[in-house]
Structure formats: C-alpha cells, structure tokens
C-alpha cells in the first residue's frame, strides 16, 4: 500500500507535538493531512485557522502552511474575513468543542447559515482539556468532570444536528476509532463548495477518561467503537438517537 508522506506538511522544528500520551488529536491531524494529500491540494494556498485549546494546536504551529491561531471561540469569524476578502484561499478551521461550540457557538451557527465556503473540523473530546477537564456543552449527561463532580446534570449538544439545522450542506461525524471513514469525510468536506462541517469524536484519557472509568486510550477507543452507530441525516435531524449511542456518518 502506498502511504503518503505527510512529513512535508509539517514543521519538523516544532516536533514532537505537545499532546498528552494517548491523545486522539494525532490521529485527527494525520487524517486531515492525508485527506489534503489525496486531494492534491496546494498547501501554500491553504489557511488553517484555530482558536484556543488543545485542538487549536493541531494546525498551529505544526502545519507548514499559513496558520492563524486566534482568540478563544473566534476562529470562524477570523476565517470568514480572510475567505471573504480572498476567496481563492482554501480556508480550514480546526479547533475543539469548547472553542467552536461552547464559547464560539454563535459563530458556528452563523457560518453554517451564511454558507461561507470554509471547512470546519471540530475535534470533540467532550471536555475542556487544556484548562483541567471542566464540563463542556458537549459533555454527555452524567459524566464526571472537574466542575460536575456528581455527574453532568445537563444534556449535551448534538453538534451535527445543530449544523444541519442551520442549513449546512455538508455535515459528517466519525470518531478517531474509524480513521479511514473520518478521512473520507474530511476529504468530502474539503471538496465541498460551501460550508462544510466535520465533527471528529476524539479521546482525552488525561482529562476525561480518568474521571470516567476509562483511564487508558485503549479503553476510550473501545468505548468509541461501542457507542458509534451508523446513522442517516433524517435520524440525526429527528434526534432519536438510542440511549448511550451517537450517530456517525456523512449526513448530507
């Protein structure tokens, strides 16, 4: 099998990455770069925009392209300004769930509604990793976090349902436990003309797994395999997800 050499897309001088042992972001980073390579995209014409948090460090400083590492929650409007002014740029936002959905949720829904031609890749580890494992708007009900020691009393966002509800024309969700499907979804999102959104379910053994009886990356990957079930756009939109499961697939 011909494995693409992705080293050319990386700044070797900043390696190794700062990610914790067992972090899922490396799998996502790899999936993004392979997808770009498969599409033959010109890396020098790509702009990667990220916010604040662990996932925001996937492109910045690792990608040897233009990178804009912005303020917390705001990568989408930064990306919008760059894309609107220079539509020739291929603009990709890579950031986390806290960044894009919690503090930055307003920008996500408006970018989807506006159908701005950017790709948003949201790394969902279901927790605020960098600041010490606090509750996120993507933390599943009853999970233990630093700020919900008795378990999360709230519901979590289904961010794909949210994006679809806002009119996004290209929406997908896969986990890092299925990297080939994740890569395919990213490829299709990068190719899509208009607003595209990929939710990458990833793992944070350090801040989430340890508190929720999954201290090892292996256990977390196993859990992702268990909870992810194929779903359709209609099923996601209807929100009739079976208890404890999450729909994955390309929903549009």
């Amino acid at each position: 099998m011909n494995v693409p050499d992705i080293k050319k897309y990386l700044r070797s001088e900043v390696m190794p990455t700062p990610f914790c042992k067992g972090c899922g972001h490396g799998i996502l980073m790899h999936a993004v770069l392979i997808a770009i390579d498969e599409l033959g995209m010109e890396f020098d014409n790509m702009l990667f925009v990220s916010g604040i948090g662990c996932a925001a460090w996937i492109p910045s400083p690792h990608f040897a392209a233009d990178t804009l590492h912005t303020t917390h929650g705001r990568p989408i409007p930064f990306a919008t300004g760059a894309k609107m002014f220079n539509p020739e740029l291929d603009v990709v936002v890579i950031s986390g769930d806290g960044d894009l959905v919690s503090i930055g949720g307003n920008h996500l829904i408006h970018a989807a509604r506006r159908n701005i031609d950017i790709t948003v890749i949201m790394a969902n580890n279901k927790v605020y990793g960098m600041t010490g494992g606090q509750l996120a708007s993507t933390t599943p009900h009853a999970c233990i976090t630093s700020t919900t020691p008795e378990g999360n009393p709230e519901r979590e966002f289904d961010t794909c349902r949210l994006a679809l509800g806002c009119g996004a024309g290209c929406v997908a969700r896969y986990s890092v436990a299925e990297p080939v499907k994740l890569r395919r979804a990213i490829r299709n999102a990068l190719r899509y003309k208009g607003f595209s959104y990929v939710e990458a379910l990833t793992i944070c053994p350090t801040q989430f797994g340890r508190m929720n009886k999954m201290p090892t990356p292996f256990q977390m990957i196993e859990q992702l395999r268990e909870v992810c079930v194929p779903g359709t756009r209609e099923q996601v939109m209807a929100g009739d997800v079976p208890e404890g499961k999450v729909y994955v697939g390309e929903f549009s």
């Binding site: 014409n45 233009d66 590492h69 303020t71 705001r74 409007p77 300004g81 002014f85 220079n86 307003n106």
Partner: protein, 375 residues
C-alpha cells in the same frame, strides 16, 4: 447652502461626519468592512454596504462585534485594508480581539462613535466616555493610537490618517469621535490632499518586526507561500509560540509599545489657538473643543487671556505639549463630556493648576458653562 451648484467646487459637499468617514476610508484604500449595527455609528456601515462593493471591496455584516473585528483582522491578514465602526458597548465586545490585533501587529481601523454610557446608556446622545476604554480596555501592556476629529472635514482627513498610521505602525488605530461630530452636517472638501500609504509586497522577512530596532516589517499576507505563523500567544519575530520565555515576551511588548511611544510627538498633534499669551488654556477634543472654541472668543473680548489646546489625538497622550502649556499658563481647564478622563492625564503632567468642565448627561457642554468656570 447655495442652491446654485458651483461646478468649480464640486468636491466640496455637505455631508454628515459619518459619511465623511466613509469617504476618507475609501480614499485611504479601505477594501474590507466588517461590522455590526450600533447607534450612533450605523450610518458608516450602511454607506459602506453600498459603496464598498461598487469600488471592488468586500462588505461583511457579522453576527456581533466580536465577529466583526475578528473578520477585520482575518481580512487584514488576507491582504485587506480593513475597518469597522462601533460605539462604546460594541467596543467593549471588540477589545479582546483588538488586543489580539496589537499582539499580532495587524493594521486596521476602528471607529468609535461615542455615546452616553455606562452600559447601554443613552444610545442617541453624545459623550466622550471611551477615552480610557480605547487606551486600557484590552489586557496587557500596550500603546494605543487614537485620533479625535472635531469637524466633518476632520472625519474625512483623520480617517485617511488613521489608515496610514495603522499601516506605518502595524497596529489597530482608533478614530474616536462622538455622536455630535458624527451626525454634524458640514461642507467637506474631499479634494483635500491625502497621501495614502501602500502596503509593500515583500518576501522572506520576519513577519513580526525587527527585534534590533523594534521597527515593524511590512505586513505580509496569506496565500503567498510565506507559511505565516500568526498567534496571539507570546511569540518571536517569526511567529513561533514561546509562552514561557521571558526574553521573547519582553521583546514582543517592547516591539509593539516602543515604536508608538517613541513617535508620540509626531502622532499626537495638538492644535494651539491663542496659547502664546494665554493665562488660561482650555484643553479639549472632539465636539467639546468646539464649545471651548466658542467660549474663548467672548472671554478674550472680556479681556481674559484664554487659549485653546485641541488634542487631535488622545493617545499616545501629547504629554510634552501639555507640560509646556502648563509651564506657561496659570491654569489648564479640561473640557470634556465625561467626569475627568483626559483631565486625569493632564493633571499627571501639568505643573500648574488644573480644573475641568465635565458633563455626562448626554448633552453637549455649552460655551456658557465654560465661561462660568473661566471667570
């Protein structure tokens, strides 16, 4: 206005301050506007929505002020001369990203049409209460540039200057106006000489300044193969994030502050009227300076030696000029529509007595109120 059109003066037009700001922006090469409506700045946005696309520029109405300034900064890095306009409450939302623009040396222009605060306050009423917000609102050490027009003509000329200063110092520049100057209608000469700084195309230079001289390097742009690393985290001159290195942090702050503070006297112009023999100098800016000007004439006629120092820029603060004026006068009286923001700065540098005429009721200061304090 004369009903008969004078073709020789066709460039001289009656217009509002906010409209003159738009004309100034276009004259300066503005080609991106990102904004969110807020009284009393909205006319700038409404006009930009029509004028920018017609001149090949890009107009973006964003979902809030945070997104507006974010889009402005994103566009600037994509090569735009970009601006936004807002008022006090909107500016409060923009400040985090304005701090980001400072740290990343991003040229852009932010127009703040001041209204009466605090909070929502009086949306349609004038005030000058954002003086400190533009200076200190964002986190961390910085130097701000803030210009303060007092006429519609200056709304035009200072907008051009704001763009040029933004390019020259690679920093966000404020045009701090107020509801009255922005909504005032006056004749404007749009043919006034306006030199415009062009952004040079360079390759291979460190994107974040020359650490030896602290001078800015030309603003690069995305999509040119420069592989730019732009971050609001502490970074070296190539953009590499180094968030625990004291030397990198010191150099970054020195870079973005010293270049502005060092040119303080050049940036912070002060217009002096009748100050040569003045025993009392009125210190004012924006619309309040018109009240002070109006009070000066009857005071002079009554035999009082009164002058006016009009601050054409609030930041960097023109401390040398104020110190000199204080040394020559008996009293400086600061006239401003707030409870003493510029007065505090004047008190810090002036050797003579300093008092003020302050008002924050949403009404302009009348010349009579100033005369009462003078006499």
């Amino acid at each position: 206005m004369n009903a008969k059109r004078d073709e020789t003066k066709q460039e001289k037009r009656m217009m509002a301050g906010n409209a003159a700001c738009v004309e100034g922006a276009l004259a300066a090469g503005c080609n991106f506007y990102g904004g969110y409506p807020i009284t009393p700045s909205s006319e700038i946005m409404n006009l930009m929505a029509r004028r920018l696309p017609a001149t090949g520029g890009v107009f973006a109405q964003m979902e809030d002020e945070i997104a507006s300034i974010a889009a402005v900064i994103g566009a600037a890095w994509a090569g735009a001369k970009a601006m936004t306009a807002t008022s006090g409450p909107g500016l409060a939302l923009m400040l985090e990203n304005i701090g980001y623009a400072r740290a990343t040396e991003t040229p852009c222009v932010v127009v703040d049409v001041q209204r009466c605060g605090p909070s929502t306050g009086q949306a349609t009423r004038p005030a000058q209460g954002d003086v400190m917000q533009v200076r200190f609102g964002a986190s961390g050490d910085c130097e701000a540039i803030a210009l303060a027009p007092w006429s519609v003509q200056e709304m035009y000329e200072m907008t051009v200057r704001a763009f040029n200063l933004a390019e020259r110092y690679r920093t966000p520049v404020f045009l701090v106006t107020d509801e009255l100057v922005s909504h005032l209608h006056e004749l404007v000469d749009l043919s006034a000489e306006t030199a415009v700084l062009k952004r040079p195309e360079t390759r291979g230079l460190p994107p974040f300044g020359d650490s030896a001289t602290n001078a800015p390097t030309p603003m690069p742009r995305f999509g040119t193969g420069e592989r730019l690393l732009v971050t609001g985290s502490s970074h070296d001159e190539w953009g590499y994030r180094k968030t625990t290195d004291p030397t990198v942090q010191r150099k970054l702050v020195e870079r973005i502050t010293s270049r502005i503070a060092g040119d303080r006297n050049e940036i912070a112009e002060v217009e002096e009227i009748n100050t040569e023999d003045a025993e009392i100098v009125l210190v004012s800016f924006g619309f309040s300076a018109r009240s002070a000007y109006a009070a000066m004439r009857p005071a002079r006629e009554a035999g009082m030696k009164v002058g006016l120092a009009r601050l054409k820029a609030l930041w960097p603060f023109p401390r040398e000029a104020i110190r000199r004026l204080g040394d020559g006068a008996d009293r400086l009286i600061v006239v401003e529509m707030n409870l003493g923001m510029v007065r505090r700065e004047v008190e810090r540098v002036a050797s003579c007595a300093v008092s003020g005429v302050h008002k924050n009721t949403g009404e302009p200061i009348s010349p009579r109120e100033i005369l009462r304090v003078i006499s």
